[in-house]
């Protein structure tokens, strides 16, 4: 994720903190919703984003998803 470096332009601390917070929130959402896991899978297996590669990713992920408890 590329962000404008506000400190280099003398941007204020509040804006930097806000941008950082958005960046972390975005990363957390990508992690929670397995988008990052798919990206890592693509990097690890050196394949492109496609229906076939997503099917492979799901197959790999299925066992861990199936045994993941959801809390009460």
């Amino acid at each position: 994720m590329t962000l404008i470096d506000l400190s280099a332009r003398g941007g204020n601390t509040f804006m930097q903190a806000a941008i950082q917070a958005c960046r972390v929130l975005n990363a957390a959402l990508h992690e929670i919703f397995d988008e990052s896991a798919y990206e890592r899978f693509l990097t690890r297996t050196d394949v492109a984003r496609s229906k076939a590669s997503y099917r492979l990713f799901l197959r790999e992920k299925e066992a861990s998803l199936a045994s993941k408890p959801r809390c009460c």
């Binding site: 992690e31 990713f57 993941k68 809390c71 009460c72």
Partner: protein, 678 residues
Amino acid sequence: MKIAKILLWLAVSVAGAIAVAALALHRGESINAMWLVLAAICTYALGYRFYSKFLAARVLALDALRATPAERLDNGRDFMPTNKWVVFGHHFAAIAGPGPLVGPVLAAQFGYLPGTLWILVGAVFGGCVQDFVILLFSVRRDGKSLGQIARDEVGKTAGTVAFIAVLSILIILLAVVALIIVNALKDSPWGVFTIAMTIPIALLMGVYLRYLRPGRVLEASALGLILVLLAIFGGQWVSHSSASGIFTLSGVTLAALIMIYGFAASALPVWLLLAPRDYLSTFVKLGTIAILAVGIVLVHPTLQMPGLTRFIDGSGPVFAGNLFPFAFITVACGAISGFHSLISSGTTPKLIARETQTRVVGYGAMIAESFVGIMAMIAACTLQPGTYFAVNSGAGMVGGSPTAAVATISNWGYPVSAEQMSTLAAVVGEKTLFFRTGGAPAFALGMAKIFSDSLGGARVMALWYHFAIMFEALFILTVLDAGTRVARFMLQDALGHLWKPLGRTSWYPSIIATSALVVAAWAWFLWQGIRDPLGGINTLWPLFGICNQLLATVALCVATTIIVKMGRARFMFVTLAPLAWLIAVTFSASWHKMFDPNPLIGFLAHARQLAAGPAGPGLARRIFNDRLDTAVCGLLIVLVSVIVIESARQWISVISGRRQPTTQEAPFVATQLAEEVL
């Protein structure tokens, strides 16, 4: 600077003390919910800043230079160093379920004060500590599960007990969440239609993810949310159309459908329906919790429920039992939940990049969960007490008919009329709101009131109510299908020791048989709840609370044992104190549930009352159910006693010097991760 910090924390302490005092000493008139929010925020801030820091530095000696399993075993899949706030979000999404919403709503029958104090104190000194220490101990043991850690550190028996406790809690949990959903949706065509529509919506999401935009889960979830919102509007139309009869289902029919759903969810492949549904449920859950927090701050509603009600004497219509111990098993997840120890020793420890991050993830995420409990308490207590009791009481507790119910509840000093209830039902688009036990409808009413006060007014209250019901039902169904699958995996794992093919998770006869066994187990309790004239929750929620807190007892036994073995016995009070409290709570609650002479509380007394009464259809089965519940309670108490005794033996032998204090931690390896990576 230092003086400024001291002054700041002094101000936080004083503000917190004033807020708690205002809540505790306020009598007679209603009080603004912001006092509760202020008390909670100050308590959490102090707990995190001081107590968790003490735990991190003095008790656990977190070592930022020690490589975690995420770094050492990094495989880009399960193990992987991850930004601490990302892990925080991931962990919170996994621990947040219906428990912190339903428990406080039920405990509100005692008034807002007991539940609130327990949520705050229980979280800061119990739940957060449990989640934090179990997370760290799992990180130091290559991400092992609670059962494995119990086996390694306490003994084989402890491992077996942990396994049985986990399986039992899963079964009771699944029954109780299924009952909540049945009670929320019975005779509600609007609710049933909306929830039914989540199935094709999830399938569409699955198709979108697989064939149209592979891997774009956030996009698919946002699309799913829009479709679900349309389904809520569609539900309103259906409820007024000639098709409403198709979606008006009795409790028995809904229970049967949920059993079929649970079985299918466990036995069929996960993708296409269940995984997209899981994503959708998480998406809605996180969004709704966030907007509820904003709504409470915007509306700052007034709490209508008194601080303490007359039902602290144990005669409550929502569930019977005295303030002690029943308030403390009713509010579980918002204060301390054994189930969290499974998450803290599951996925999360494999993502922690540095030991020091376990503080914010373990302790911090539980604070967030606890605040969800506080919001649920606020939502329930914004209702007029008469309305709250009319919705939450079982027919058998308040007279059997709406007329008798309003008379009984008004006689208790909480005035409510049948006209008020029917107007309210009409406003939220329901035929009736009487006897909607389980907590979900009462929470949805409170939430709809807060939402409609902040956006749209009374005209849209019906939409908000059904949005809240959809939100609860959606993630309860996710808990149900994920829980059934997990229980099936556990059962297969155990049965595989008896006959290897049964342990193969890809062998269909085994999948079918174990899925059927798991569903049959929770369906038994669900059926019992559906047919219970007292509403089912009176029996099942305390049983669930006992199971959940017994699992926390197991986790705290394991944690105390490790602290002692680490040579830090002088600090064992940090886990021993909540452990002692939980033992007192769970053992006395179990004793009451088994042997209390009041048939509304004690299973055996209830069985005796039934046996002495007139014979009728199903009498033998109901008596058997009471005895079965007694046996389940007794078995769990015996098993947990075993692990407590086993752990105490370990503590004594280490403290007395008879045994060398050695733990099964993975050897120290220095981290290679640069500071900026973390």
